[in-house]
């Protein structure tokens, strides 16, 4: 290859890179095969289908479809629904109050359940000493998060704070002791479990992986209230829905101007990246679009003590004040911030960080108004 042809090749590569189509919220991963794209499309249909009592909805539920909550700005995004979770934290142990209907307390009932028990929602557990409001998270890039090796998560952990930075992330564990990563408390280990569990906990749709309904405040479902045969969706419907979520891409961050680039540098300089790691890398996967792929995660998937002001419920080994570092993927789609939506702006959300994040929060607050705006501009590009 001559020098000039080499330059032409380099220029063409740069041109190709600059012309690379940006991934928008709700888009599938680039590089999926035609078959995988077909599954993505079929899964999206199930994700968006509205269930009725006749097709299995309830008898307790929070929504009638996945897409009812995960809708903004596209299917798989966020929503304005807020749900309720409850647990009891006693003597350092977490009780998810399964015997009283926890940890997810459904906010709606089918007409048949209302007729049988006269309730509009699941009763709040009498033994609860923790109550949490939970907003709808975006589910973009969850397939990528699913494939981050446990070893990588453990490598980021620093429960003893050996580097004395005041940050001591640690993994949560699922009910059977595996490392968790999904949910605001990182209680769920795999995306497949999160999805299968959500069908039941959020919509009352039983499936082959979780074939039994939720109880009603710890009591069994009255006879005749749920006449749809279990499981209420089949394995194929569950699998394609799982693939839809698995194949949702991380939206391409919008192009940063000079101010945004300064904000990105400041975000790191003031210590936010101590927990919000900019990138994670997936392990090996037979799906090429997920295989050993670096993506802008902005999380370490670990639990951190966020201070008593944010504390609500426990889950697994997460105490009331412990939260998983929220991935900032798709942050530009979010309207209400933090796990319960209490912050109306990104600035407010940062200012409400406590506990291990106090140092970074204080450094943010100490920035000039211009610099703070630059950090926010950067975050709103994600």
């Amino acid at each position: 290859m001559t020098v000039s042809s080499r330059w032409v090749a380099v220029l063409l590569s740069l041109l190709a890179l600059s012309c690379k189509k940006p991934v928008n919220p709700g888009d599938p991963l680039p590089g999926l095969t035609a078959e995988q794209l077909a599954r993505f499309t079929r899964g999206k249909e199930v994700f968006d289908s509205v269930f009725t009592p006749h097709t299995g909805l309830g008898p307790l539920f929070n929504s009638t479809s996945c897409g009812e909550c995960h809708e903004d700005p596209m299917v798989g995004g966020t929503g304005d629904e807020v749900e309720v979770h409850a647990t009891a934290f006693k003597n350092g142990m977490c009780d998810p109050l399964v015997q009283e209907g926890g940890p997810v307390i459904q906010l709606h009932t089918t007409p048949a359940l209302k007729k049988a028990l006269g309730i509009d929602r699941e009763p709040f557990p009498p033994s609860a000493n923790g109550r949490a409001s939970r907003t709808t998270p975006v589910v973009f890039a969850r397939g990528l998060m699913d494939l981050v090796p446990d070893s990588a998560i453990l490598a980021y952990a620093d429960s003893e704070d050996r580097n004395h930075d005041g940050v001591h992330g640690r993994p949560n564990r699922s009910v059977d002791g595996r490392i968790g990563r999904f949910g605001r408390k990182a209680f769920v280990s795999t995306l497949a479990e999160f999805n299968a569990g959500a069908f039941v906990a959020e919509m009352g749709i039983t499936n082959p992986v979780q074939p039994t309904e939720e109880n009603i405040g710890g009591k069994p479902i009255p006879p005749g209230v749920d006449s749809t045969a279990d499981p209420e969706i089949n394995q194929e419907e569950l699998d394609v829905t799982d693939d839809f979520v698995r194949f949702l891409a991380a939206p391409t961050p919008t192009k940063l101007d000079r101010n945004g680039r300064r904000g990105r540098d400041l975000f790191s300089k003031i210590g936010c990246t101590g927990c919000h790691f900019p990138t994670l890398r997936t392990g090996a996967s037979p799906i090429l679009a997920l295989d050993r792929h670096e993506f802008p995660a902005y999380t370490d998937l670990l639990l951190h003590d966020m201070g008593q002001d944010l504390a609500d419920i426990c889950l697994g080994q997460a105490g009331p004040a412990d939260f998983r570092t929220e991935p900032l993927i798709g942050l530009r789609a979010i309207q209400h911030f933090l796990h319960d939506g209490r912050a109306a702006t990104v600035d407010q959300a940062i200012e409400l960080h406590g506990g291990e994040a106090s140092g970074a929060r204080d450094r943010f607050k100490a920035l000039t108004a211009e610099d703070r705006a630059a950090v926010v501009a950067f975050l709103k590009s994600l």
Binding site: V98, D176, G177, N195, V200
Partner: protein
């Protein structure tokens, strides 16, 4: 997927050799079935021989009530884990059989688990 499957009770068929053993044929009873549950100990009482295990899928959790079979009772001479060795918060795998009278699950074997990393 394998781990997901482990989270739900699954049927472990009786070994074929048992079913093909020599006559006389057994009376027409239900074939013995066993179930494996993996989860967190919620409550355990070695004296009454009862165990409540939290299992589940994602955020959809279930409480499974079990009673101790002979091997896991405190008085058992057999080696292995017993109910008295357990405490709330332990992650365990419990192998059980279902009984009809009284209806319920009886634990034949239980072990603490060290979950594999992936």
């Amino acid at each position: 997927m394998l781990r997901t499957i482990l989270l739900i009770p699954f049927l472990m068929s009786t070994p074929i050799r048992h079913r093909l053993q020599a006559p006389p044929p057994p009376p027409p009873t239900q074939p013995a079935t066993s179930y494996t549950y993996v989860g967190t100990v919620h409550a355990v009482n070695a004296q009454t021989g009862t165990l409540d295990l939290i299992t589940g899928v994602g955020m959809s959790l279930r409480l499974v009530h079990m009673t101790a079979g002979p091997v896991v009772r405190p008085s058992s001479p057999a080696s292995g884990l017993r109910f008295a060795d357990l405490k709330p918060g332990d992650a365990v795998r419990a192998e059980c059989r279902r009984t009809s009278a009284p209806p319920g699950l009886v634990v034949n074997r239980i072990e603490k688990i060290e979950a594999p990393a992936r």
